[in-house]
Amino acid sequence: MINLYEVTETNNMISKENLDVRTITLGVSLLDCIDSDLDKLKDKIYRKIYDAAKDLVRTGEEISREFGVPIVNKRISVTPMALVGGAACRCAEDFAALAGTLDKVAKDVGVNFIGGYSALVCKGMTSADELLIRSIPLALSSTERVCSSVNLGSTRTGINMDAVRLMGEIIKNTAEYTKENDSLGCAKLVVFCNAPDDNPFMAGAFHGVTEADKIINVGVSGPGVVKNALEKVRGESFEVLCETIKKTAFKVTRVGQLVAQEASARLGVPFGIVDLSLAPTPAIGDSVADILCEIGLEHAGAPGTTAALALLNDQVKKGGVMASSYVGGLSGAFIPVSEDQGMIDAVQAGALTLEKLEAMTCVCSVGLDMIAIPGDTKASTISGIIADEMAIGMVNQKTTAVRIIPVIGKGVGETVEFGGLLGYAPIMPVNGFSCEAFIGRRGRIPAPIHSFKN
């Protein structure tokens, strides 16, 4: 039978170490809503999402109360809208109107984000894909809760460099369109290589076309729990260090698995996956950078950071995989800058640069995330940063992403405030040398060779 020590340990994780379930994300397929009439399409989308998600928030709150574990966000992901809207949308404004419908239904059912304003263009773009991409600045500036993502490359197909070039411009435009709010639109826009179909985390969540009609995906988090566990084994060997991370990740993921099963049963929607990520928040003690420091670094970004992060990421996966029947999504350690107080401190101390972050993305679970850069950064330079990140994902057969915010009107040394879970960030310097001629080339980078790996 459960004893007092175990109960106290669990409750301390929740009350003192920020253990929480970061999100229950309901995936909804909109493929059966497709219609060539825009008004009918909007109506069908609204009704399908509303019917599927009307009890989501209430159910999440009930589970949270019964088990005494916070469930921070309830969210929705939908089929990439470029596929859904292709038959009905003739211009960018038509697509933006669909974003308006998503925003409205998100508000009406009470979720804080809805993801899937997306296009999958890793090899080529259809005219609908291109229209949707061109509508992103308008869509994100005219809505509040809609998140957008674009898959630009994959290990199987290579990198669509035409789309990479376009996304550099779109990110700049989105920043311009939302410059009154410190270019906040870019915080809701992410580009991927090897985007997963079942990611519950925003801004990159969408409901892949290979998924069932509806699905429940759950994202857990607990950097504070791992940090706390590691404090108790300070100075011990790597073996002890790794075992501790693994055991802690197991416990954290089991909570996610329980919540996912409960939500699935109560909503009558199949359980999809648990995403066992360490997702930091700006709250003190909820930081991945702090774990790296506990492992033995003065600041995240110091020599040894990539190795420490590789170890952490791998042990989190090893512990989590055994705790859940189905693991998916991004699963690993996230290293956003603005959402992690330890990362912010590292940047301000001069320990962490964009280049070191890029190296870290080779071994972490996502990529360059929530990084504020000067507003006058050229679109081609942003495309260059994206291309580098996509190449890392393509060659290493992993998901990589870029969520970067060129803050219009601000430069290096200034700070930008996004608020809430998105946090604040010091603006980081970008390498000023040009890559315009490289980005200006047409076509795509071919898929890498899958043999002769040395």
């Binding site: 039978m1 007092l4 088990f67 416990k251 329980l258």
Partner: protein, 90 residues
């Protein structure tokens, strides 16, 4: 059997167990196990209870226990057993 774990943490005072147990008895909740310690003047108790006979919803019970805790000056939490079971048992 529907098992819930009740934890009571706070400054030790006269009658904590009496008040909690009275609430449980009035609501048809059966106590299966109690363990309790006092660490540096702080009262720390865990109860495993069976709520099969309870008329109220888990949410209502939780809220009323919280309110009772505030009255006595301790923190009372009611959590379904599964969260601890899942975390600490393979």
């Amino acid at each position: 059997m529907k098992r819930t774990i009740i934890t009571v943490v706070g400054k030790d005072t006269v009658g904590i167990i009496a008040k909690v147990c009275t609430f449980l008895a009035e609501n048809g909740i059966n106590i299966l196990d109690i363990s309790q310690t006092i660490v540096q003047g702080y009262f720390n108790m865990m109860m495993i209870v069976d709520t099969s006979g309870m008329k109220k919803t888990h949410g209502d019970m939780s809220e009323e226990m919280e309110a009772l805790g505030e009255e006595i000056g301790v923190v009372i939490k009611c959590q379904k057993e599964e969260i601890f079971d899942k975390m600490h048992r393979i």
